[in-house]
Symmetry: C5
Subunit: 155 residues, 5 copies
């Protein structure tokens, strides 16, 4: 079906999130093209995504970042998330936010696993949303998680 | 009278919220059509609702989600709620937010009851708002609750 | 001078706020017409007010609600307030927010008094703002309160 | 050079902030005209300022308020501040926010001094910004404070 | 390649942030012009940056500020940050936020080092973003920090 996915990532993150996202999309959507955008930190992601969606013809974007563990970092992540939602409302296009919080896990090894699992699964989600509003319906209410194993579905 | 209600739900939720909302609307408004949209999590709901309202001709939407119990989940729900209100202001159409917080109840059985009661009652509310600004007047100030029994009305 | 005041209230509230607001306006502005709009909860008030101001020709609106006492209710009220301010900026019209928090007082009797005092005083304020930017000047800096007695003015 | 400064203040404040702002501007900018607007509380200030800037031809506005000392008052002030920043972005004009928090000082006498110092200094700042983007450059990084004495500048 | 960078700073800051930003840009981008804008505090930065980007033809802006260490100062910084992100979305241009929190370090000497390191590095980042979306790609995921030494990159 074709399509262009924008991938915005940061210098602040301690993992090359954009590279893995791009690789996953390439592996799972051979007709999809990626456009990259690297910014200093998560608060620079909203406008980068807006430019990818408006000036670089992307149909969807992924916003990749690693907020730090301090209070001020949590506030930055919150502001970035608000900006990413606002961007979607201004463009009528999806932005999949993939944030891995530095304090989610205790060791670098565990944190690396979160990066890998969350980025890969959300890259697949982006490909799904690109196909349309019904593509992810089969997972509705299934307790799907990114970065860990799925939760139990009720009833 | 007819009409189209958009129903946006998530993969993250542990209950098939969209299915119950659709069933309730079908049972109570035989001339109403539903359009579904499934996204990964609650922060993806605002733009999904905006697209339902603007691109799929829905007159009203329901935004169904189950925020998790961690602090970060509370923040996500807050951001989603802000986005849903913003979406309504951009479209001049109602979005009924139906969020069930995973930590509202202690057991899966109790939580399931909250899902059922809140979704059903709010689906009925959506049908009411679709009829116009005076339809819900008879309940003004009556302490109506969704997910539990009603509160006592004063005076 | 005439004019139309929009009155938006909720099913969630435990007091019939809209009725008292309408009665007070009728008693104090015989040439003013009221248009009512009832929604489920406070987060539905912003778009209801926007529709009153844009689609029903109201020059000003009152947004009446009773946020509950739990943390999640405080967050809802905050989101509603942000939406109400945003609505005013999009319409260039005033919305008088009249929120009575369920935990402001300990007994139903005291809470009822807050409802009555705050709604009546703010209905009068709405009539004042309808007359123009200078009508409330005489009260500038006077420590005026709604829901309790006024505070002491300095100097 | 001429110009019009909008002055929005509140009935809630316990000090006649608008009067002192107007007097200070008159004393320091003999060719500047002031237009006043009084509203019930700080959350009514954003749209009042927007109307001053858009409908009353003001080039700049001052938003004067006294948030109370309770948690709910802090939230109100936060919402008002967000609205004031939003208003500036919608109008491309400055609004100088002059908020004196009721709990900044312990006695009425001390609080009165904060009102006087902050209002006077910010009225002068408004006159400066009216002259253009370079007028306040000489104070850049100088630790200037309003409501108390200046802080020490580094280096 | 040429270009104009807007530099907005504050009177509140205790360090002449704008001067160092301008000097760094001059030293590293001989064909870049800077336009300065000084405002009272961080909450005045969003509209200053918007004017630099829209009325003074800047392609990018730096927003320089020093939030104080009190709770109210943290709230001000948060509001300013939200406004700066909003400004970027309205202009489709980057604003590099350079905030140094007064309580980040314990001594004036250490705080001065943070000012110097963060301002210089972010001025270089601004020059990079001016060149385009791929210029900073080589640093993606490298744990780059401004104001301290870089963090360790994973994998």
């Amino acid at each position: 079906m074709g399509g262009i996915i924008g991938i915005a990532d940061t210098m602040f993150a301690r993992y090359d999130m954009g590279a893995l996202a791009e690789r996953t999309i390439k592996d799972n959507g051979s007709d999809i093209r990626c456009i990259r955008y690297t910014v200093p930190g998560v608060k620079d992601l909203p406008v980068a995504c807006k430019k990818l969606l408006e000036e670089h013809d992307c149909q969807i974007a992924m916003a990749l970042g690693m907020p730090g563990g301090k209070d001020i970092d949590k506030t930055c992540a919150h502001e970035a998330s608000q900006g990413l939602i606002h961007t979607q409302l201004l463009t009528n296009k999806h932005i999949i936010e993939v944030f891995v919080h530095e304090d989610e896990r205790e060791t670098d090894k565990e944190l690396t696993k979160v990066f890998e699992d969350r980025i890969k699964k959300h890259a697949i989600n982006a490909l799904g949303l690109l196909k349309g509003k019904d593509e992810l319906r089969r997972y509705a209410g299934k307790g799907k998680r990114q970065g860990s194993k799925d939760a139990k579905s009720l009833g």
